[in-house]
């Protein structure tokens, strides 16, 4: 009898422990781009609430597969999934934080934030149709500037990445030639240029090779003190990359809860919108209400308290209007 009693007590304790473990633990996996900010938030959230968040940065592809097979509480992806796929796999999706992609150049004659480019020029440079810095098209955009007759060395990512997906979506949206000849994706068949591995690879390359151009996450341009360019946005104005112009893109971008916020935040219509931005997304399994509520609690907390931390790490917090839209989306799905 005593043995049975001991067994019951032990199993009860074990059970309560495992329940507590599940309550105080959130498992997520996916995109590597937001990993630093998610872990900074997770650290602060753990201190404030005692809930632990375990985020594995295994890449967007892995994140989508993990949540599809329901092995994690939430998945994370740099690319938004289309509504058809979300419905098929019974998933929910919302944006969590943003980043901007900037073009950086290394021309000894040109300082940061001076060179003006538009989507057509960028597209032609990356297609190899514009070969020299003093090309007519670039000169037209920069009439006062003296541009050297040097060959442009084009740098792109050699690895598959969300940054490349954002950049190629920008080109595909702005330039029909790019859409038909190359297309958009996490890695594409580049017509010209050399590949650097990771943002650090591209930044290192642009820094080193004179007369080069590359695209990197905003943070890497800042940290490496690279010369960014101005870009013409759909509203017709030349914009410098900054938190404000990224936020303007997010505020004017057409994020629609009805299609689960499926949007590449490129070529946003805002007057001050930087044209190459992108949100990174969280994916939830629709039927797992309990864990969804806990995940949403975390992101709701991060939306309220995490903006400064995000900015410190050079991520762009979502604008207020978008946060409200997301909260309404949570409510509509009964998880907030």
């Amino acid at each position: 009898m005593r043995k049975v009693f001991t067994l019951i007590v032990v199993s009860a304790i074990a059970l309560s422990f495992s329940v507590a473990g599940a309550e105080g633990m959130l498992n997520g996996a996916g995109a590597s781009f937001p990993y630093p900010v998610y872990s900074a938030w997770a650290y602060a959230y753990n201190k404030a609430t005692g809930v632990k968040l375990n985020y594995q940065s295994i890449g967007s592809g892995g994140g989508i597969r993990q949540i599809t097979s329901r092995t994690v509480d939430f998945g994370a992806s740099d690319a938004p999934l289309p509504p058809e796929q979300l419905n098929k796999d019974n998933l929910l999706q919302f944006p969590a934080v943003m980043g901007g992609v900037v073009l950086v150049v290394n021309i000894p004659e040109v300082k940061a934030g001076v060179l003006k480019l538009d989507s057509e020029a960028v597209c032609k440079v990356y297609l190899g149709d514009i070969k020299y810095w003093d090309d007519k098209k670039i000169k037209e955009l920069n009439p006062q500037m003296h541009l050297p007759h040097n060959e442009i060395s084009v740098v792109h990512r050699s690895d598959g990445s969300g940054t490349t997906a954002i950049f190629t979506n920008y080109l595909s949206g702005a330039c029909a030639d790019w859409k038909t000849r190359v297309g958009a994706g996490t890695s594409v068949k580049w017509p010209v240029g050399i590949g650097g591995k990771g943002n650090e690879g591209v930044a290192n390359y642009v820094k080193r090779a004179q007369y080069s151009i590359g695209y990197v996450e905003f943070a890497y341009a800042e940290q490496n003190k690279l010369a960014y360019t101005l870009l013409k946005n759909p509203a017709g104005r030349f914009i410098a990359p900054s938190f404000d112009t990224f936020e303007d893109a997010a505020a004017t971008g057409d994020f629609n809860p009805k299609n689960h916020f499926n949007l590449w935040l490129v070529n946003a219509p805002g007057k001050n919108a930087w044209p190459i931005a992108g949100a990174t997304f969280i994916l939830l399994a629709k039927e797992k209400k309990d864990s969804n509520i806990r995940t949403v609690k975390f992101y709701d907390w991060a939306f309220k308290n995490g903006d400064n931390k995000a900015k410190e790490l050079i991520y762009v917090p979502l604008p207020k209007s978008l946060k409200e839209k997301i909260r309404a989306y949570w409510k509509a799905n009964g998880i907030h």
Binding site: A79, S158, G160, G185, S187, V188
Partner: protein, 313 residues
């Protein structure tokens, strides 16, 4: 001798444990092969075997995949790395065993073994931040000015030197495999009986003659073994070359062009492969590498056995 001796229980369990350990390896290899085949089945069905192997296309956007460019890149980097590494490694081994004064043998030997202990990612970052700029600024322009002017060999050094290319990757790879080849060759050289060497010296042979006619013939097998091992290492090396090869899916005719190897493609594209066909094709590439390594090592083993037979005669 029977595989499992039943007489002594300790002996029996000892044999059992060793047998289990060996069979685990076979089981693992079989398991890996099965997983690779299963995961790549989608791609195998779509592209077939021959078409996949000869297609130079690698376009994730249109989902058209082929292995020719990466297989080519894998072979070129491996061959150039071996061409650089083998003479250097043999020189090191000969110096340590035959020429170096005793007090130097220890430090040099340890230095070489330390070289083998450096993680490959360190080689990769060093290659990107240190070696690539040096190659682009000094080595490659110099090569273009000298060999690049020759009629046929010059073809290998066309294009703008960027430092991210087949040559830089091969140099890093060669540095990585030198320790393997060198330490195994050294051990092999050390096995040459002192009596034989001393006899050669006694009849008036010079150091060069002793090395050429006594030490190397005596230890050929061990040296081949070392080379075969480093060949396997070079075929599969990933992080050291991932940063300096550019991952460009094209058949490069110049050593100063960016290229891709199978492992570099896997490291670069696996995490962000978003469609099923893309992922399956990456698994297919891994399967190709698996089979390739098997074939290459089988050939190396075959030559080793042949040399062994010739030697024992």
């Amino acid at each position: 001798m029977p595989i499992l001796q039943k007489k002594n229980p300790v002996d029996f369990s000892f044999s059992l444990i060793t047998a289990l350990a060996s069979f685990t390896v076979v089981l693992l290899i079989g398991g890996i092969l099965a997983v690779l085949v299963r995961e790549s089945s989608l791609s195998i069905q779509k592209f077939g075997i021959i078409k996949f192997l000869v297609s130079t296309d690698w376009n994730p956007v249109t989902e058209s995949f082929g292995a020719a460019t990466t297989v080519y890149g894998t072979f070129v980097t491996t061959v150039i790395a071996l061409v650089i590494a083998i003479p250097a490694a043999l020189g090191i081994a000969i110096f340590i065993t035959e020429i170096s004064p005793n007090f130097l043998k220890g430090p040099i030997g340890i230095a070489i073994e330390l070289l083998a202990a450096i993680p490959s990612i360190i080689y990769g970052m060093w290659g990107l931040f240190t070696l690539a700029p040096i190659m682009a600024k000094y080595v490659e322009p110099a090569l273009q000015k000298s060999i690049g002017k020759l009629p046929v060999a010059g073809m290998l050094f066309q294009g703008t030197p960027m430092g991210i290319d087949l040559l830089t990757a091969s140099v890093i790879l060669s540095i990585m495999i030198i320790p393997f080849t060198a330490s195994i060759s050294r051990d092999a050289f050390n096995l040459t009986p002192a009596v034989v060497k001393e006899s050669a010296y006694a009849i008036g042979a010079t150091k060069w003659e002793v090395v050429k006619n006594v030490v190397i013939p005596y230890s050929k097998l061990g040296v081949f073994g070392g080379i075969a091992l480093s060949l396997g290492r070079a075929l599969g090396e990933t992080m050291a070359v991932a940063f300096v090869l550019g991952n460009k899916h094209e058949i490069a005719t110049s050593l100063l062009d960016a290229a891709a190897t199978i492992t570099v493609t896997l490291a670069n594209e696996f995490t962000e492969a978003d469609t099923d066909m893309y992922l399956s094709s990456l698994f297919y590439l891994a399967l190709v590498l698996f089979v390739l390594s098997f074939i290459v090592l089988a050939i190396a083993k075959f030559f080793l056995l042949k040399a062994e037979r010739k030697y024992s005669r």
